[in-house]
């Protein structure tokens, strides 16, 4: 039997870090030379990637169908911006950037809490009932954000007139770092024991339970991790836009994120990343024919679903090391490593 070359683990990490560094440098270089408009699109792509990857935890890996992801995003967005506005005294001590990072962390934590609170009752239901109950929660969050001020006499969310003058702290650098962190954390989590428990629930919940996996615990865990990253994306979105209106985070926003995940392929991180990129760039690129861009978008959606129902990438996931191994082995005249053998 011929021995195939495998890249050892530490080298794989190094390769990935090198790739990240190269991407970051080129991205940062690009942002500085291109138009501000393109820089904004680039940031939006990053935010959408975090959203799609986070929803992919609940849809692709856990196998549920939540339709309230925009709700978590709005919780994160409001938490982060209210924190940044109210805690402006902190900037004197730790600086503006650090305050924003703290706000993002807080946004993630509060969203994750909401994920637990909503997840425990909602995850008792299955399939479409879960979809509709999360949709309900998402809409309730929106209605509360719209009206809480007038009910309690607060001046927090400013209801329909929108929360204005949020410091625009989102830069390409922090979006990029968070995208990389999100992908890395989600990836390592899914390769861990906990991740396999989550995957087993997707494959067969009853069998998983029979094997001694605490299904409720892991479902809630996956759901709240998903909410955590959605909250962070929300915080970035707030710092990107500078103004928040609860109606942005309606049902259609949740659908938009779900479309990214399904179009890319459920359970494929590469798919989520690619389709989030494409679906962010596409409407911008079609801005020239503004009347027909949404028609094109929806037609494309239908056509892709009819001809490739599992999404563009299916369940395939990309691994740079695997690709390199293949290249080395082919060049060395050896049989390539079987697909699925080499983890990232």
């Amino acid at each position: 039997m011929k021995k195939t070359i495998r890249i050892p683990m530490p080298v794989r990490y190094l390769i990935n870090f090198a790739l990240l560094a190269v991407l970051l440098l080129t991205g940062n270089f690009l942002v500085n030379i291109v138009d501000r408009y393109y820089a904004k699109v680039l940031m939006l792509i990053g935010i959408n990637i975090i959203l799609a990857v986070s929803l992919n935890i609940a849809t692709g890996y856990l196998g549920q169908l939540p339709l309230g992801h925009a709700g978590f995003m709005s919780v994160g967005a409001y938490t982060c911006s209210i924190f940044v506005i109210r805690a402006s005294f902190l900037t004197n001590y730790i600086g503006e950037a650090a305050t924003f990072w703290l706000g993002l962390l807080l946004a993630g934590i509060v969203s994750a809490l909401f994920g637990v609170i909503i997840g425990i009752p909602a995850l008792r239901l299955r399939g479409d009932y879960l979809a509709i109950i999360t949709l309900g929660f998402g809409e309730i969050i929106r209605v509360i954000l719209l009206n809480i001020d007038s009910l309690l006499g607060f001046e927090f969310t400013y209801g329909a007139s929108g929360l204005k003058n949020i410091p625009k702290n989102t830069t390409f650098l922090n979006v990029f770092v968070l995208v990389a962190l999100t992908c890395a954390l989600v990836h390592t989590m899914m390769k861990s024991r906990h991740g396999r428990a989550v995957l087993s629930i997707r494959e067969n919940e009853i069998a998983a339970e029979a094997c001694g996996i605490k299904t409720t615990y892991y479902k809630t865990l996956a759901f709240s991790v998903s909410a955590f990253f959605a909250g962070i994306a929300g915080g970035l979105y707030a710092g990107y836009l500078g103004i928040l209106n609860p109606n942005t985070f309606g049902f259609m926003k949740s659908i938009e994120i779900l479309v990214m995940v399904v179009l890319g392929g459920m359970g494929s991180m590469l798919g989520s990343v690619i389709s989030a990129t494409v679906l962010t760039v596409l409407p911008e690129a079609l801005r020239g024919f503004s009347d027909y861009r949404m028609v094109t978008y929806s037609l494309l959606l239908i056509i892709v679903m009819i001809f490739k129902p599992t999404g563009l990438m299916g369940a395939y996931d990309f691994s740079l090391s695997r690709l390199l191994e293949k290249g080395i082995n082919v060049m060395g005249g050896k049989k390539p490593v079987k697909k699925g053998d080499g983890a990232k």
Binding site: D128, I132, I140, V259, V295, S298, M305
Partner: protein
Amino acid sequence: MMTFIYQLINGLQVGSIYALVALGYSMVYGIIMLLNFAHGDVIMIGAYTIWISITAMGLHPVLAVLMAVVICTLLGMFIEKVAYTPLRKSPRISLLITAIGVSMLLQNLAQIVFGANAQTIPSIVTAPNITVGSMQVSVTAVITIVVSILSMLGLTFLVQKTKMGKAMRAVSEDTEAAQLMGIHVNHTISFTFAIGSALAGIGAALYCCAYPQATPTMGSMLGLKAFVAAVLGGIGSIPGAMIGGFVIGIAEALVKAAGLSVWADGVVFAILIVVLLFKPTGLLGRTMNEKV
């Protein structure tokens, strides 16, 4: 007390529209397990059909309503054939995304063709209010409630007593077994879509009586609430859809009457969540085994 009764009638009127639309969702869900997101937009097309028929073609309102029903039926069957049939064997989530795609397509096409602004629909029913004792009841409310109850009775008859109804129940029970028994599954599913969309056409007419204007996005919130009504009552059950519609309609009317109209959407979804938590299959979900 008087306002309470008025609001109750108001709620019944809106509720019966929700119920009619909910039936469309419920039947389609029962037969191919699809949340047909495009259903609300079929209603929107129905409303525009009525608008064109009356203003541009000068048809009599009754003919306009008939026209809307015919167009909606054809549209529903067309959508099913083109977008849903190729995906019958695919993962259900792909089907769902396709339905969302169809919904967006219809909305944006309508926006291009008819413009984003609301079009005012001339009143369909022109009759004086009915006076009962000391109160005035609008004719449209009475007509809406009566028409929807009649449609509901007709549908129950169709599903329970006719051969096609039996086929529908069989297909929703077990598609493959039904096919082995010689039931033409494709025809049955098309027929279900046709009936659901025809009800959507009637719903469009009744909706136009209550809120006489058409906008490209009018279908989404109406559809969402009707869907909530269907789930609330127990999806797949005809009386369930009716009860769900009335509950949602009355709750909404009462919340609005209490001066909290901004909370109306929230209350609707809160009711849904509470019901689903205590009865995960909806109010009548378990007791009705026949899903159509």
